[in-house]
């Protein structure tokens, strides 16, 4: 994703990554999250992204560089962050994953019951977030209409 020039290839790489992560969640036993990873991310978000890439289709001039002028500090910071995260992970003493990786704990029934019993307030707050996002998107569209006349 860092070196590919075409946005469509980046999108395809990201779709592959997300599908693989969905498979990983499924192997970990969190089947609900695996299903929603594929449904929401690949099915909704990335389809939307691919649609916008095809809609825009702004050709970049071939001579232009694909990196900003923050390459050197960015790569340095990224390397430092990777080293720090890796050392922190290595130094941490983690308990091993349980052998039966949460089969009944993360089943659909248990997940849904816990979700709607203990976390119903957060669930309702996400609806507020979604409504405000829709209103903000409409505001952006009206700004663009006003600008173009």
């Amino acid at each position: 994703m860092l070196v590919l020039r075409e946005p469509m290839r980046v999108a395809l790489a990201l779709i592959t990554t997300m599908t693989s992560l969905g498979a990983l969640y499924g192997l970990l036993g969190v089947h609900v999250i695996a299903a929603f990873q594929v449904l929401i991310y690949v099915g909704a978000v990335m389809v939307f992204m691919v649609y916008v890439i095809m809609l825009l289709e702004v050709r970049e001039a071939p001579g232009r560089t694909r990196y900003s002028r923050w390459v050197v500090p960015g790569v340095a910071t990224g390397t430092l962050l990777a080293i720090g995260l890796g050392l922190g992970t290595l130094a941490s003493r983690t308990a091993a994953l349980p052998a039966t990786a949460g089969g009944e704990r993360f089943g659909l029934t248990a997940f849904a019951t816990e979700f709607l019993n203990r976390y119903w307030l957060e669930f309702e707050l996400t609806t507020v977030l979604l409504v405000s996002a829709i209103v903000a998107a409409l505001a952006v569209i009206s700004v663009s209409r006003r600008r173009t006349g």
Partner: protein
């Protein structure tokens, strides 16, 4: 190195690659997709910790992160469309009107 550490390494690698993409790339859409990659890395670490503790709070948190990611994309795409219509380019270095 056990499985938890391997999964956390993968999550950290995804996060760092996404952060690098946001910092060094110039294409606005590619930067958006790299932000999605960062969210995916965080989600993987949340799922790993939820599995480790046997608690469903992490899974619920991942679910809420899905909603946040969807709202972010739904809001960011119109902004990108507006910028592209304004400047005829996806290059973020050309959107420098807010710079003093």
């Amino acid at each position: 190195m056990d499985r938890v550490q391997a999964l956390l390494f993968l999550a950290g690698a995804l996060f760092v690659i996404g952060l690098l993409g946001v910092v060094i790339r110039r294409n606005a859409l590619v930067m958006l997709m790299c932000m999605e990659l960062m969210l995916n890395g965080v989600n993987l670490s949340l799922v790993t910790f939820a599995q480790q503790r046997g608690d469903s709070a992490g899974a619920v948190m991942v679910f809420l992160a899905f909603v946040v990611a969807t709202a972010e994309v739904a809001l960011a795409i119109p902004i990108v469309l507006l910028l592209v219509r304004h400047a005829r380019s996806l290059d973020v270095d050309r959107f420098s009107e807010l710079k003093g």
